[in-house]
C-alpha cells in the first residue's frame, strides 16, 4: 500500500482511495504473525500479545526492532494517547480459545486380520496437525498397499508395516521425532 510510516492525518484520503497505487507490485506480499496469524500491526490487539512478541523476536527480528522503536517513541511523546480519545463502554476483549494440550504422541500397533494376515493401526497423527487423508494416501503409495482413514484420528494400513513406520514417519514429517512414536505391539481390533 502506501509507504511505511504513514502519517495518518495528512494523507488519509489518498490512502483510502480506490485504485492501483503507483510503484506497488501486486500481489502484495504480506507478513503475518505466526502466533495470532494476523498482520503484525494488529498483534497488539491480541490477548496473548506477549507471545506474539516472542514469536516476532524469534522469526522477524527486523520487524520486532521497528515495533520496539515505535513503542518507545509513543511512550516518549505522550503516553496520554488514551486519555485524549473517548473511551467506549463494554469490554470488547478478544477471548482466546484455549488449545487443548493433548500430548503429541503417535501410537502404532498391529492388529490381526484372519489367521495369517495383519493390519497396522496408526493413531495420533492429527495431534501434529497432519491431514489424515493425505497421510493415508502417502502410506498407501509408500508401502504399495491399501490404506484408509478409519476414524477420527486413526489410519489403518493393510499389511504389517509397523517397523518401517518408525523410519518413514519422521522422514516424511520432520516435526515428528522418532521418540514420539510409541509401539503398542499387537492389539485386538
Amino acid at each position: 500500500m502506501t509507504n511505511e510510516n504513514i502519517s495518518v492525518s495528512t494523507n488519509v484520503a489518498e490512502r483510502l482511495k480506490v485504485g492501483i497505487r503507483e510503484g506497488v507490485t501486486y500481489p502484495i506480499v504480506m507478513k503475518y504473525c505466526g502466533h495470532c496469524t494476523m498482520p503484525i500491526e494488529y498483534c497488539e490487539y491480541y490477548p496473548e500479545y506477549e507471545k506474539c512478541k516472542e514469536w516476532l523476536e524469534r522469526n522477524m527480528p527486523d520487524d520486532f526492532e521497528r515495533l520496539k522503536i515505535e513503542e518507545e517513541q509513543a511512550a516518549a511523546d505522550g503516553t496520554d494517547d488514551d486519555k485524549k480519545r473517548q473511551k467506549r463502554g463494554g469490554k470488547g476483549l478478544l477471548r482466546v480459545k484455549k488449545k487443548e494440550d493433548v500430548p503429541k504422541r503417535i501410537c502404532v500397533s498391529r492388529a490381526a486380520r484372519g489367521k495369517k494376515k495383519s493390519v497396522t493401526v496408526v493413531t495420533g497423527l492429527s495431534t501434529f496437525d497432519i491431514d489424515l487423508k493425505v497421510a493415508a494416501k502417502f502410506f498407501g503409495t509408500k508401502f504399495a498397499c491399501g490404506s484408509s482413514v478409519t476414524g477420527d484420528d486413526e489410519i489403518v494400513i493393510q499389511g504389517d508395516v509397523k517397523d518401517e513406520l518408525f523410519d518413514v514417519i519422521p522422514d516424511k514429517w520432520s516435526e515428528i521425532d522418532e521418540d514420539a512414536i510409541e509401539d503398542l505391539g499387537d492389539q485386538k481390533r
Binding site: R15, V18, I20, Y26, C36, P39, Y45, R85
Partner: protein, 182 residues
Amino acid sequence: MFKKFEEKDSISSIQQLKSSVQKGIRAKLLEAYPKLETHIDLILPKKDSYRIAKCHDHIELLLNGAGEQVFFRHRDGPWMPTLRLLHKFPYFVTMEQVDKGAIRFVLSGANVMCPGLTSPGACMTPAEKNTVVAIMAEGKEHALAIGLLTLSTEEILAKNKGIGIETYHFLNDGLWKSKPVK
C-alpha cells in the same frame, strides 16, 4: 457471520463449477469491482477451474484452483473478497477507516457503529448504502474487516448513531483461520 464458522463442520459440500457459471461469476465480479480488471487473471486465472463450497447458513465460498478461498457471499448477496485476498490486492474495494477505539470491537466481530466512523481518527470515502467496504483502521496499514454499509455515508454523518457497517468477515474469524480446501 464467520464467528462460529468451522471449516470441518460448516462446509457441507464442494462443487466443481461449470465453465459457463465461472464466466458468469467473473463477469459479476468485474461488474461489482471494475478496478479489479487489471489483476483478475492473477486472482482467478481464466484456464483454472474454480469450485464453490456450500456452507451452513447459506454461505458460499468461491475457491480458486489451489483451493484458497477468494470470495464469499451470503444467499444472493454480493460477492465479497476474503481478507487474505484483500491484503494482496487492497485497491479494488471502497475503504472506510475507523478510529483506534473501534479496532478491538471489530476484531471481536462487532458491527461498526456510526460514531466510530465519524470521530477525528476515522475517515470515510463517500459510498452508497449496501456497498461492500473494507474496514481499515487509524494508524494501520491493512484492512481488518469486510462489511456492508447499512447506511450511506451521508446518512452516517447525519445520524451518527447505531450500526453503520455490518461486519461480515474480520481478522481471526472462522474463515480467516480456515486452510485451503483440497
